[in-house]
Symmetry: C2
Subunit: 247 residues, 2 copies
DNA sequence: GGGACGTTCCGTACGGCGTACGGTACACCG
DNA sequence: CGGTGTACCGTACGCCGTACGGAACGTCCC
């Protein structure tokens, strides 16, 4: 397994692609849009590890090298995929309370990660400055409008919430994928693991881990990653509420 | 870039490796420990994308296939790397206040991610149940001891903090790596990006993004990812404090 | 000392990857 | 109909993880 980073090619070319300047269509009907769509479909289904230029090309009934007429390389293709899916979530009028708005933003991001788990693997520093990223940023900032926070605090607060969502969504999404990926339910996994662990783990040495681990295992279903997501989100929003109140 | 998942081989073999049961040393001095150490060094330096069995073997002056005498495959090797680095942080006696303790836990995890950025890319569902993971869990639960929370809430609260740290550390670490990886400072990157963006971005359409983005850019240095990390952490802890108080 | 055996080490090979390079075949313009 | 630009893509290179089978070695028994 490795990690996908952004394209490092000509920034002007990348920007033109993101904003679909000079969008052509070849004689076989190939286009940037179709390539990006096929790539997203592949990554959604089999994970980003299974995304290859050859497979994208196969899916489109085209030779692998034909893709390079439209896209400079795989890095740039991933950038395009990212901006593309960032445009998917509907962005309805937001409710009146900032807290309900921010909750909506958080859950909508979770849903996006759920739909496209590979988003969690692509770097977010130096993001692809596409139209959908910008629209998303604008929309999400709107959640905090009217709270009286300074512009800088607005950005920082949103960043913190998105950081939390990223981390909690990682746990939730991975946990949801694990059974499929491994062909083993959580229960089955534990049934294999528990007796092995028992042989090497000394509860005397780590009493807290033993006690709390057992309690957490017992309560599984009540405290799965989805509930952990909501719990942490509410705590974070409580803290933000206090911050807003005292500002 | 792809993503590294855990080994999917024989769980008993994996467990034996993690706990170093039956640790041998070959005639060339090869051993699981030396392989894991070499792999960590490679991943720390060049990222997990640059970690390959052949490079690990080269580093040890050994043929690639020799590694497979000690380690079933790359997935298991990554598991071993993870448990190994989880054992690195010192775990001193914790301060008296739960809040100071939890802050310590959060910052210590950030430091770990900084030291081993590739940790952010490996899946955490179905974690490798090694000695150091368990020790870490036990130690970190200790931060919340004495707060009066139930065992289940203990686990959930810790999970939430770690989720936040994971997300915020992703941003901080990637942002710190970006200049090296791209050979371009943040300023240089913006100098290239800004004029391109100006051509396609309409501030009228996204007034909030334009205003706040400008303010955030202006304040950069004051609100870099490190400060965002601390800001969000304090908000989250504030929320947890309220939760503890009302429990 | 000699032989047998188990383990360690690894050369080779297979199927996959991203993509550089250069050629072919088509659409369009004159 | 001929010329030109571009879309398409076959081939090849250097990587990857690892299956397979053989070679080299340490150890033990006779």
């Amino acid at each position: 397994m490795a990690v996908e980073y952004s394209g490092t090619g000509d920034p002007a070319r990348s920007m033109a692609l993101l904003w679909r300047a000079a969008d052509r269509e070849g004689r076989t009907g190939l286009s940037v849009d179709r390539i990006v769509a096929a790539a997203i479909e592949l990554a959604d289904g089999d994970g980003i590890a299974a995304l290859s230029m050859r497979k994208v090309a196969d899916k489109l009934g085209v030779g692998a090298m034909s893709l390079y007429t439209y896209v400079p390389g795989k890095g740039e293709l991933v950038d395009l995929m990212v901006d593309q899916v960032l445009g998917e979530p509907e962005r309805p009028e937001l409710p009146a309370s900032w807290r309900a708005r921010l909750e909506h933003v958080a859950r909508s991001n979770l849903a996006l990660y759920r739909a496209h788990p590979w988003l969690l693997q692509v770097g977010t520093a130096r993001p692809p400055m596409g139209p959908n990223l910008l629209a998303k940023y604008d929309y999400e900032l709107g959640a905090l409008e009217g709270t009286g926070l300074s512009d800088v605090d607005l950005d920082t607060t949103l960043t913190s919430v998105l950081a939390y969502v990223n981390g909690a969504a990682s746990a939730a999404v991975e946990s949801a994928q694990a059974p499929d990926r491994s062909g083993m339910s959580d229960e089955a996994w534990w049934e294999v693991q528990a007796p092995l662990l028992e042989k090497v783990f000394d509860p005397q040495r780590f009493p807290l881990a033993a006690r709390v681990g057992a309690a957490a295992g017992e309560a599984y279903g009540l405290i799965d990653p989805d509930h952990a997501f909501e719990f942490g989100l509410q705590r974070l929003l409580d803290g933000i509420e206090a911050f807003i109140a005292r500002n």
